[in-house]
């Protein structure tokens, strides 16, 4: 799924979406058709821990880490990336099914590793 679409050159103004009752991703429009979400990993959580996406709209997850190597793994969306310190990893895909999909760090990183997870919510 990743890298299946070309990256637009120009960025539109960033738009932060806030959903009441949960921590929600900051979603930027890179163009009219791309949802860009910045996700920051650090022991032992992801920020945001809930990523809300619109079905059918291409996504670029921009993944960075504040401390050590982590993994971003959403098996039911067939998404996986290794997040290396000092680098930005990208997961580009277009969600085609509405629903809630769990993701987690899949590189064991210490005592709180089991709780380093979150969810992607894809809405119609």
């Amino acid at each position: 799924m990743r890298g299946s679409w070309r990256r637009p050159v120009a960025f539109a103004a960033a738009t932060a979406l806030v959903v009441a009752g949960c921590v929600t991703a900051a979603v930027q429009n890179k163009g009219p058709e791309v949802q860009t979400v910045k996700v920051v990993a650090k022991r032992f959580d992801f920020t945001p821990e809930e990523i809300k996406l619109k079905k059918g709209v291409p996504v670029d997850l921009e993944l960075t880490t504040e401390d050590r190597v982590h993994g971003f793994y959403a098996p039911k969306l067939n998404l996986r990336a290794e997040i290396m310190p000092g680098k930005t990893a990208h997961l580009r895909f277009t969600p085609d099914t509405a629903g809630t999909f769990l993701f987690q760090c899949d590189i064991f990183c210490g005592e709180g590793h089991e709780n380093m997870d979150g969810k992607i919510v894809v809405v119609e």
């Binding site: 064991f108 990183c109 997870d117």
Partner: protein, 302 residues
């Protein structure tokens, strides 16, 4: 043949605290479990599986008796008569720590506690808490190799390491090693596999899987009599991939919820009304000639 135990004796062992399955395990079906007393196979030998002791863990909300739980299990296993042929610990002997010296201290303390086991043939495997932060270095110093094989009374045992890689893979080198080992075996050879994590995708989004576990299962599939015993998920669980049975053992520190039974995975809280509930160990009776196994789940006594 050492101390074989007959059906009646094994039923008594099962009665020590648990549920017993005479699963015809080497040709197991989900619906095929029966009580031990109704099973036909008198075993050639039996062993004990202990798992996920997490020595060094502290957290009163899930186990205020963390310092006593392993010792209780040791005492219960010591009460078995006849004694098992061997005991295997299927990983997470210790709770993880960033400090390598502390990790070695916990492993040393663990060893001193289980030194009280009367059975002296004890085999160890790492879990991710033991091995994932240092690629198994401390474990190897204190316990030896992280993957190995051995044979016992007609059964071929294979201990796989799916934790020294922090990304939860067996890796190409170990898979090649497994392939070479299996190449020497007859397809009718009874095989018992030990692993820490499940080899199949039980709940990959809960970290209850092995990335390349399917490759190992595919290698094992041509063999008629294969059973996998594992830990990691802190609960009894039984599943099948084709004709291969997979049995997870209870933990000896805290239970986890059933796969995907709650929105967010977290240890089950300690219930003062039912202390030690969900904790326990397993005895496995095997017969290499009959290619059969009976096993019993032993809940830790309050």
């Amino acid at each position: 043949m050492t101390k074989g135990i007959d059906r009646r004796q094994f039923a008594r062992l099962a009665g020590l605290g648990g549920v017993a399955f005479a699963s015809g395990l080497f040709a197991h079906t989900k619906a095929g479990r029966v009580w031990a007393a109704g099973a036909g196979a008198a075993g050639d030998f039996y062993f004990v599986q202990m798992s996920d002791t997490h020595w060094g863990f502290s957290g009163d909300k899930v186990n205020p008796e963390a310092k006593n739980t392993l010792r209780k299990a040791v005492a219960e296993v010591n009460a078995l008569a006849p004694a098992p042929d061997f005991i295997i610990f299927t990983g997470d002997l210790t709770h993880t720590t960033d400090d390598g010296n502390e990790r070695r201290r916990r492993m040393t303390e663990f060893k001193s506690i289980i030194a009280d086991l009367k059975v002296k043939t004890i085999r160890f495997m790492p879990g991710e808490h033991d091995a994932s932060l240092d690629a198994g270095a401390a474990f190897k110093e204190l316990f030896g190799e992280t993957h190995y094989t051995f044979d016992h009374k007609g059964v071929h045992f294979i201990a796989l390491d799916n934790v020294s890689d922090p990304g939860a893979s067996l890796g190409a080198a170990q898979l090649d090693w497994l392939k070479a080992d299996l190449a020497k075996l007859d397809k009718k050879q009874p095989i018992v596999v030990f692993a820490h994590r499940p080899l199949f995708d039980l709940a990959a989004d809960w970290d209850w899987a092995t990335k390349d576990g399917k490759l190992a299962i595919d290698m094992l599939m041509p063999f008629e009599h294969v059973t996998v015993f594992y830990g990691h998920i802190h609960q009894e669980h039984h599943d099948m991939t084709g004709h291969i049975a997979h049995h997870a053992a209870m933990s000896l520190i805290f239970p986890q919820p059933a796969p995907h039974s709650v929105e967010k995975k977290a240890p089950v809280a300690w219930d003062p009304a039912h202390p030690f509930r969900g904790l326990g160990w397993r005895s496995v009776e095997a017969d290499g000639k009959k290619a059969s196994v009976t096993f019993a789940e032993h809940a830790l006594k309050a």
